[in-house]
């Protein structure tokens, strides 16, 4: 059976695409799926760093496209922790023109038979890099944060995905801050669902553990204490077709709430 080809995209930069790819990829591999993550952000590669694999790169996506390396398997980097998880890194010293959508399709076709999931980390923007990243994908995950600019760009991306015949992208709402939602200073998931009107895959709370995990090069999904990690584990389950209720967004409930939490020893 051919694997699923999922592009992770957002339009706006800095909303957590790469973190999302690293965590979903790792989460799927934890469930014994055979996964390859492709960093399509040529010139600004980052997925290797988030995964802690930056020292193992020999060949990259452009080498594969140009057939500089003999086989695609030579360019795939095996994860440190999970033997069924692989990374195809982006080239750092080239630009987005270094590959074409057709080359991307050819590369992905070559991987489909061997992998259950092919996750593509799309660069920010809507030009060449986006077209390359989306060319081979049949499914999409749109990442946004609860900010006007990010949601606006997500809306644009949803339109562009439709033009590429990806009609049912899934939404990941990243960096939600429950306390700000509670105070009425941040859009909540209902507001964003209402505006974007696509299926919700998951809500990831803003979590310092994400920064710590990026410092270490270990995706938060591996950390059982991380709230964001838990959110990504749920996202992975939903991607696999499981019905998982969305985590309650329980911000602090003021003094009384804090008192209650103290009573419960939290």
């Amino acid at each position: 059976m051919a694997g699923r080809v999922v592009v992770v995209t957002s339009g706006k930069g800095g909303v957590g695409k790469t973190t999302t790819v690293a965590n979903i990829g790792t989460g799927l591999a934890l469930r014994h799926k055979k996964v390859v993550m492709i960093d399509a952000d040529i010139g600004l590669r980052n997925l290797d760093v988030v995964m802690g694999l930056e020292n193992r790169i020999v060949y990259d996506l452009v080498d594969v496209a140009e057939k500089t390396c003999r086989s695609i398997n030579k360019a795939l980097i095996k994860d440190k922790r999970l033997s069924n998880l692989f990374l195809l890194p982006a080239a750092q010293t080239r630009n987005k023109d270094a590959i074409t959508p057709d080359q991307m399709i050819e590369i992905v076709e070559g991987l489909k038979e061997e992998f259950d999931y092919i996750l593509i980390d799309c660069p920010a923007g809507i030009e060449r890099g986006f077209n390359n990243a989306v060319a081979a994908a049949t499914e999409a995950i749109v990442v946004t944060t609860p900010e006007v600019s990010a949601v606006r760009d997500a809306d644009r991306i949803i339109g562009l995905l439709q033009e590429k015949e990806i009609y049912e992208p899934l939404l990941v709402l990243n960096r939600l801050r429950p306390e700000m939602v509670r105070k009425g200073d941040m859009m909540d998931v209902d507001d964003i669902n209402d505006i974007l009107a696509i299926k919700l895959l998951g809500i990831v709370p803003d979590d310092e553990e994400i920064i710590i995990s990026t410092n270490k090069g270990e995706p938060a999904v591996l950390n059982s204490h991380s709230k964001a990690g838990e959110a990504f584990r749920n996202i992975v389950k939903r991607l696999e077709g499981e019905e998982v209720p969305f985590m309650p967004i329980n911000g602090e409930t003021g003094l009384f709430g804090k008192f209650l939490k103290l009573m419960h020893g939290k």
Binding site: P146, G184, M187, I195
Partner: protein
């Protein structure tokens, strides 16, 4: 219910601004949208009144507080009965 503090309006502002921005964005992006709308409006109205199709103006306007569809449709004649 909130007794001790006023609800902060910044989320509401975010939602309202987004809605207006997206009205504009989506209308611009889907170039065919206004043309389709124009065609259907002509069809619907023509059942009741005869209009000058060449003089129809249809615009989607958005400002700071609201978005509106403005249609200026010159009527030539009102039909006596629905045909």
């Amino acid at each position: 219910m909130k007794f001790f503090r006023e609800e902060s309006p910044s989320k509401k502002q975010a939602v309202e601004r987004l809605r207006l921005i997206l009205v504009h964005d989506r209308a611009k992006v889907s170039t065919g949208l206004l043309e389709l709308l124009r065609g259907e409006i002509i069809n619907a109205i023509s059942k009741y009144v005869e209009i000058d199709e060449n003089e129809i103006e249809i615009e989607l306007n958005a400002n700071d507080s609201k978005a509106e569809l403005v249609a200026n449709i010159p009527v030539v004649r009102v039909r006596r009965a629905i045909e």
